[in-house]
Amino acid sequence: MLNNGQGASLGVRAGRMPMFMARIYRRLSATGPYFTLLGLVLWVGTWWLLCEVFSVPRFEKMPGPVVVLSELFSPQPFLGVSVFTEEYYAHMWASCRRIFFAFCIATGVGVPLGLFMGWSRKFRDYTFPILEILRPIPILAWVPLAILMFKGFESPVIFLATLASLYVSTLNTLLGVDSIDESYFRAAGCLGSKPHHIFWHVVVPGALPFMFTGLQISIGVAWFSLVAAEMVSGDWGLGYLIVDAYMNNVTVPMVIGMITLGFVGWFTSVLVRIVGDRMMQWRTRALAMENR
């Protein structure tokens, strides 16, 4: 069982419970959650006091938490966007769809590219310099070129988000292959592996931990560039919602857009992490033994 040193009595009591119950029990008996709550309340409270109660200069222009939340959850939103309107979901859907495509393309191209670069010295020598030259160019600098190269609204936005996450996923996968201990290659070699065995049994699984860290960063970067691209050129999407609200001089939908973006972005990255943990049972279980 996973009883570690600290809280032995707790471990005994939790020993019979299912894993998640034990975890919840441990959470509730620690002081952490109350401080967390305090922190959140403090933060929202400050926001509320500054914007709504005292209307401090400059802050008065910003909507406070009460205004934003009542708008977000009102069936008849005053300014057009709430959880009850179709428009809200249309924006969210547009952004999520783009992220989905961009992330899939970037992963589908970047991960194999990174694996091959890590596996074959020669291939890496040929491709790495090109990547290194293109990488310092910020994604946003591609905006005009993307608009010119791809027609319409959709494809330039997807292109920019793809490009951003492509670099990250490729480089992290490459780093992952580099991080594999030499002795695993040697062990595989002296057990009689052919190169393709080494690729599938050593390179791919060995690179997984770094790869998934990379994918988590890459989806964050994809959101980052997506928002930028949607703000510059777009017709739908959360980035557009924000910039559109700004143009129309309404601040509440703007903040709603920001909150939604934060939530959706966080959610997608959690999703990637869960998939990663599922695929790396060996790692999850070993880390669980160390109680990390």
Binding site: S183, A187, A188
Partner: protein, 289 residues
């Protein structure tokens, strides 16, 4: 000094007729960025089939270089290495091919962390197409059960103790029926108590298989307890300094450790080892990887 060692008559009854390694005048010079570092200098030794040859020397003296040359991880600069009369590497072929007839057990353990113990053990026969997947897994489970790891077969290496992982790694090597087992300080990071259990398990495995072992260590007692012969190496560059024949009959167990014969052998070897260790320490060079 180019010491050539006569073939040791293995004391083991019914020794296997395979796995004789002959190292002849091997020299290895590393050349990182133009600075020549001689790791092995004109080293020769003969290891008889079925012998447990223990190689002892100070850290970073070049023992591992020798092992890497036999396994085919590194090339050699001069000399030849033969296995059962066949040339592994020589002047025209500095790098030996890697193959499952010489399986290595690594210093820090190299069980694939992403495979369960059973999958790890079954890996060798599977990739060489020797057994079907089912047979390989069955045989792996059987061999793990033989060394008392039956209930851990489906665990990942990260979930079991280092001693168990090391035992499974030796099983992973033995399932391939290698001619020679190359062990590179396999019990380095273990405490004495675990070590003694590992030693007995290894001896038991040896008594069953009689596989030739090239065992690197810097623990003199371990060397004498396990080996048929202990080869003491000099500090870098690596040469043979002294050879101690261990004429203690097998099977051995831990009672041996407190016997007079054992103490005398340790005494015989320790002076040579200490001298080299002191030299290595004063040189203060960083160990070669």
């Amino acid at each position: 000094m180019a010491a050539s060692v006569a073939v040791n008559q293995s004391t083991a009854p019914g020794a296997a007729a395979k796995g004789a390694v002959s190292i002849r005048n091997v020299t290895k010079v590393y050349d990182p960025e133009g600075v020549n570092v001689m790791a092995v200098d004109d080293c020769s030794m003969e290891i008889a089939a079925g012998e447990v040859c223990m190689v002892v020397g100070p850290s970073g003296c070049g023992k591992t270089t020798l092992l890497n040359a036999i396994a085919g991880f590194h090339s050699i600069t001069a000399g030849e290495i033969h296995l059962d009369g066949e040339l592994l590497c020589g002047p025209d072929k500095p790098l030996a091919e890697q193959g499952a007839d010489r399986v290595v057990v690594f210093q820090n353990g190299a069980l694939f962390p992403w495979k369960t113990l059973r999958d790890n053990v079954a890996y060798g026969p599977l990739v060489r197409g020797q057994l079907s997947k089912r047979d390989a897994l069955d045989k792996a489970a059987q061999m793990l059960a033989d060394v008392g790891l039956a209930e851990f077969a489906e665990k990942y290496p990260g979930e079991v103790s280092s001693g168990m992982a090391r035992r499974a790694e030796i099983v992973r090597a033995l399932i391939n029926d290698p001619k020679v087992l190359l062990l590179d300080e396999p019990y380095r990071a273990m405490d004495e108590l675990t070590k003694s259990i590992m030693h007995e398990a290894l001896l038991e495995m040896y008594d069953r298989t009689r596989v030739t072992m090239f065992f690197i260590t810097h623990d003199l007692e371990e060397a004498i307890f396990l080996g048929d012969r202990v080869v003491v190496m000099t500090t870098r560059p690596c040469r043979t300094k002294k050879i101690v024949d261990v004429n203690i009959p097998r099977p051995r167990d831990y009672h041996l450790l407190s016997s007079e014969a054992f103490r005398l052998l340790v005494e015989e070897a320790s002076e040579a080892v200490h001298e080299e260790a002191l030299k290595a320490f004063t040189a203060g060079e960083r160990e070669l990887a």
